[in-house]
Amino acid sequence: MDILARIQAASITAPCLAPQHHHKHLQQLCFPMSTGHHFSCFYMHQNHFPVAMPGHPCRIPSGSIRCQSGAVEAPEMQDVKFSKSMLSFDMGKDRLSKVPASQIRNFSIIAHIDHGKSTLADKLLQVTGTVSDREMKEQFLDNMDLERERGITIKLQAARMRYVAKDGEPYCLNLIDTPGHVDFSYEVSRSLAACEGALLVVDASQGVEAQTLANVYLALENNLEIIPVLNKIDLPGADPERVRNEIEEIVGLDCSEAIFCSAKEGIGIQEILESIVAKVPPPKDTSMNPLRALIFDSYYDPYRGVIVYFRVVDGSIKIHDKIQFMASGKEYEVDELGVLSPGQMQVNELFAGEVGYLAASIRSVADARVGDTITSSANKAGMALSGYQEAVPMVFCGLFPVDADQFGELREALEKLQLNDAALKYEPESSSAMGFGFRCGFLGLLHMEIVQERLEREYGLNLITTAPSVVYRVQCADNTVVECSNPCELPEPGKRVWIEEPFVNIEMITPKEYIGTLMELAQERRGEFKEMKYITESRASVIYILPLAEMVGDFFDQLKSRSKGYASMEYSLSGYRKSDLVRLDILINGEPMDPLAAIVHKDKAFAVGRALTQKLKELIPRQMFKIPIQVTIGTRVIASESISAMRKDVLAKCYGGDISRKKKLLKKQAEGKKRMKSVGRVEVPQDAFMAVLRLEKEVV
């Protein structure tokens, strides 16, 4: 077997079996052999189909395709040329066939977490032959490790399918996946803006949940045709009739033609496909207009530059076209153009109504931001597309590398993540105890955790994160208003007149037996009761207004655990209100620990203060001197503890045979010291920071 064939074989078999991160081995394996070729396909971004797909021509290195076939000359889109020596099968090639705009359907699936969106998406891919049964990975669209583990979809992705409907006509269906979690409503709005229709998937036993509602409203705002689908009808607890009535009642949607489905069992899939063809309006054929394409996702590929996912709204785009990004003003030449099916497959040209991707050696992350409009340099559109809103971060925290040398790497990693994630904001921050890091803004707590985990997993960074904070508005004595998302930067008490904090309107949908416990939870979190109504006989919607700061902690976890997982929630910002807030400072041996400072409500200050001092006492090891730990509000100490001095740390014996071993022991102890953060003369273990920060998340 020649080298090329071996690599090809490896790419087909190995990664299918290995978890995604093992793909790295393959990269290392291939690279030295690939002199003279760019096997960029092996380097596809981890989040975007890194797994080779047998039968998918997209796995052929794009560089070599162009090498061998020269310029792609054929006028028709299906003319993507593959070298015969590489792959003999090109099943599914016909889904690249051009169809008139009237036969294109762009749709997404909206659903509450766990209502079966991913399973349904998988089934649609299988039934249309886009992905064969054999190569079907479960939940194909949820590609990131993280998504798989958490069972949720974070980054949206797209898939082009070919479906020959009962009318005998071939249709091109573009499924654009949407994230399900409340933190990602911005991303949902992006994908919905690229569609004309949506499947509303509701679990036939669980019924309508808080997020179902939120996403339906987003879809209605985007004027989408909504097709109700009742999923999991095969389960014993399913009651599709009841749930159908529930949707009609709560959402106000006509459900007379709702489809009964079991994605798992393959029931109702054909009906769904027919319904998409029949009900979702085709995109307008505006191919003759100047190009306007909406970017709904993008990611960075180290070999091809930024890969942009877009929906062509007007006009057409061809390979080698000169394009311009209207917001950034930057111009590029299209190097590679293709569709997602669900792997990347190259084509020559895309027309109004189609969904695809492009690569144009875009090096700067800021040049092709999600939400921007692509137009043609030669024939510029008059106006950029609207409907995209800038994501506003709601939760902030400090991210610091444990190893100060990783600051540069952290900056690069954040730059790359930001490309995928327009909602991620960051700016440099430094603190005496933690060194240099970044203050980062997130859509919500889940978003924050995901970014942290991705930084650690994908970029190999070891991070310390401070407790999340919201944006406070401080009315100062000099009549200015200061916005503050970092407790350390809160103006001194003497300079403040009052502090306002963001409040959210929170809607919890719960079986009636948990109403009491959830109201208690909201009350504990300074919630103000607004309204309660029964949406069915057994389920109620409870609405509270409560401070966002109370929500960013473990509110969602509590809601889930107190309702045994049955309740769901959704929130939206309701505005700012004055609150009686104070800043707690933690002093260790008289030195303030900036990153541990927290803004809390006055009524909670004492309890939080006590909990924090106790935790620190437990976790800071004894040192050579006594260490006082204090929590203060301004200069007033509200809680204190002390760690008594270390009494004895000595090796009794050290003779000839012991020397190497004892030296190792002492060196290990020295290494431990290096990992500690010095606060004045006190060495604080990383763990203590982490634990206090976790505690703050819970109690603050």
Binding site: R622, Q623, M624, F625, M646, R647, K648, D649, V650, L651, A652, K653, C654, Y655, G656, G657, I659, S660, K662, K663, L666, K667, Q669, A670, G672, K673, K674, R681
Partner: protein, 331 residues
């Protein structure tokens, strides 16, 4: 020679002495029957006194006695009794070891350091302090963290280790140290036999080739960093402390200044002392001022030794030594 009570009679010892053995170190461990049992010794109190009779009966004046502190259920009163008994026997040398619980041993399974029935850290420290004060009162010099001797009776064998001087060790698993290399012989008899045979085959009369061959077995090639660490770790076990002149001679003047700086907080806190060429203590203020001045090098030349204080510095020696390691400028 290390000997345990109950393992020899008068005849045996006499023969050993006849072979040239000039010092006996007796592993007494405790003068309390219960504690002897508790620390898993096979001998009883009776054996201890019989052994002592044999030693004194043969007029061995250079003998040493080992004691263990921080045994399960031990109280300060028990410990004082034990120390007084030892002092009453007037050995030339006393070794006092704090019980170290090693993982993988029976003790490691039964007990957790600092937790009942083992004494807590504070109590264990007070045992150490008591030993230091009682033995010093009785005329013993506390010359190493765990060792006390009447003048002239320091253990010459062990001083070689603490002064980081070269030595040979023979036998299964024995370690040697020469030419800056630490070397450990095979631990098992079969391996040892092979090793010896190879040595013979390699070169029976060419010592340097032999040594080269031995270096093949050396698992640690001591780097400069290792040698600095060895010097710090070992010399600070001794009451005499770290010899700065030797340090600069071996590793350069910069390291001397660097290490003095690392010592500053410990000198200020009373855990270490700087000593000048006349063996006078340099006051912390003088030391600190000397370090902060441009002419630091000149004043520091006067400081010849830095030693840990007894008992405060000795008790926290690991903490101090590991801090010095952390500060070392070498990677």
């Amino acid at each position: 020679m290390e000997m345990d009570p109950g393992t020899f009679d008068k005849q045996t010892l006499k023969q050993f002495l006849g072979l040239g053995v000039n010092r006996v170190s007796l592993g007494v461990q405790s003068f309390n029957e219960d504690f002897l049992k508790a620390c898993g010794r096979s001998h009883g109190l009776q054996d201890v006194y019989e052994a002592l009779d044999i030693i004194t009966g043969l007029n061995v004046s250079n003998w040493s006695l080992d004691l263990i502190s921080s045994l399960p259920h031990q109280t300060l009163e028990h410990w004082e009794e034990c120390l007084r008994e030892a002092i009453g026997l007037s050995p030339a040398h006393v070794s006092v070891y704090d019980l170290q619980i090693e993982e993988g041993t029976k003790f490691g399974v039964w007990y957790k350091p600092g937790h009942h029935p083992l004494p807590d850290e504070d109590k264990s420290a007070s045992f150490y302090r008591l030993a230091s004060s009682l033995l010093r009162e009785a005329g013993y010099e506390h010359y190493e963290i765990s060792n006390y001797a009447k003048p002239g009776f320091q253990c010459r064998h062990n001083m070689v280790y603490w002064k980081n001087q070269p030595y040979y060790g023979f036998g299964l698993g024995a370690t040697s140290y020469f030419n800056g290399k630490r070397f450990s012989r095979p631990r098992k008899l079969k391996g040892y036999a092979d090793f010896v045979e190879l040595c013979i085959n390699q070169s029976s009369d060419n010592f340097s080739a032999n040594e080269e061959y031995l270096s093949f077995y050396s698992n640690t090639v001591e780097s400069v960093e290792d040698r600095v660490c060895d010097t710090i770790m070992l010399s600070l076990r001794l009451a005499s402390g770290l010899n700065l002149n030797e340090l600069s001679k071996n590793f350069g003047h910069e390291l001397r200044v660097h290490i003095c700086k690392s010592f500053l907080p410990f000198i200020n806190s009373g855990h270490a002392v700087a000593v000048d060429s006349k063996f006078k203590t340099v006051p912390p203020d003088t030391f600190s001022t000397a370090l902060s001045e441009q002419s630091a090098s000149k004043v520091l030349k006067d400081v010849i030794f830095i030693r840990l204080t007894d008992p405060d510095g000795f008790l926290l020696s690991n903490e101090i030594i590991s801090s010095l390691f952390t500060d070392l400028p070498i990677k």
